[in-house]
Point group: C2
Chain length 90, copies 2
């Protein structure tokens, strides 16, 4: 693997993993009212487009980090849906 | 401009602009205690690395959207610093 690819992967890990603290916070507190629906839907759409873009250029850092990011953002969206239902019940 | 470059730019606008709702919310409410410092520092580092990566591949969508994202994340970090001081004073 070329050094520039490693740098791309590190870049991708930084920008993808930034949602992890938010995800941990949401799971701990079991609430996500402060988090915007639109934000995560737009992010997921963006990740899907980046995966397509990376695929067309055979760019491993773009593809791999956006798949990772897509999974994290989907988990976040799932948490938002899950904890919203819980709040409504109580 | 090739259609794949336009697609890359759209992807970048989606993933970069996702921070705008958070920024607007923070400016409106004048508080950012729920927002993680580490998250934005890691994001800014990631953007800087992506700009370098994009530069080495002459990839316009990567460079331009990460410059945009870097500016937004820096603004967010500035807001967090600004509103934290305000809260301490009152």
């Amino acid at each position: 693997m070329e050094s520039i690819q490693i740098l791309g992967l590190v870049a991708g890990i930084c920008t993808s993993s930034s949602v992890i603290p938010q995800l941990v916070k949401t799971i701990k507190e079991k609430k996500a009212s402060d988090v915007s629906w639109i934000m995560f839907i737009v992010l997921i759409l963006g990740n899907a487009l980046w995966i397509y873009y990376g695929g067309s250029k055979s760019d491993i850092p773009i593809i791999s980090t956006n798949i990772f990011s897509l999974l994290l953002n989907t988990a976040m969206l799932f948490c938002k849906w899950k904890y919203r239902k819980k709040t409504n019940k109580t």
